[in-house]
Amino acid sequence: MEDFFEKLSMFTNFIWPLLLLAGAYLVGSIIEKKHFQSIRKREDGLHGIPVVSFDTMPEDWRVSSSDMVTGSIVISLDYFKRVIAGLRGLIGGRIKTYEPLLERARREALLRMTESAREQGYDAIFNVRLETSRLANAGRDGKGTAGVEMLAFGTAVKLASRIG
């Protein structure tokens, strides 16, 4: 009976976290890869709509109507990458696991904004701004939510005519 408890405690203390890490790594990588694929595919489909960060429009654009459009996403890292990032935080330096997370969040937010503008029949979006906000804190042990919200917003316009 003692032997059983010893094995059980070894499982909960050592093997279970490892399994969780491995599982999180596998599933997390697949989710990330799929997300990047879908982002690239949808970005290819949205080439006709200019999305610019200028605050003024070209003078030859005649606008018939406008509205503000937004797109947002809340995204989090997987457990494995969070642990890696936590370890990296001890020695400092570039945290590579966070970079693709923020990139895909930003591109997804821009995509959602552009898609909503296209659904409503707008021709262009200008004065695009991006905002990042942290939702909750993640501990160094990888626990706690590591959610990041990315918000993209801009002014969508319908063009009456576009000379040139």
Binding site: G23, M68, V74, I75, K81, E149
Partner: protein, 111 residues
């Protein structure tokens, strides 16, 4: 997502494209403080292991931002404005599990 549900023209530029500002009414604001939903939080906790989008939170923040914007628009309407320009958003987490969403802009009359 369409942020404005009313006839009010809103934009995050200094004017409404193609129209002219004739009168300024001043800064209008709208805010909302939201706490997390327990059920959504459990789901988010599970999703947190494998990473990816936390849909519950995305929706929660979208709804909240819409509400903040609507409050800002209401205030502008009560002043007699027909547009809000230079709209900005801000988010601040005021305690563990609660966040304030805040929208502000300048109420104007456009023709």
């Amino acid at each position: 997502m369409n942020i404005s549900s009313s006839a009010m023209a809103i934009s995050n530029t200094e004017s409404i494209p193609g129209r002219k500002i004739v009168e300024f009414y001043g800064v209008v604001t709208g805010n909302t403080v939201r706490a997390k939903h327990v059920g959504r939080d459990i789901m988010a906790g599970l999703k947190n292991i494998v990473g990816g989008e936390l849909k519950g939170y995305t929706e929660l923040l979208q709804d909240s931002r819409k509400e903040a914007t609507e409050r800002m628009i209401e205030q502008a309407q009560s002043m007699g404005a027909n547009a809000v320009v230079n709209v900005r958003f801000a988010t601040s987490s005021i305690s563990q599990g609660a966040a304030e969403l805040f929208a502000y802009g300048t109420a104007v009359r456009v023709v």
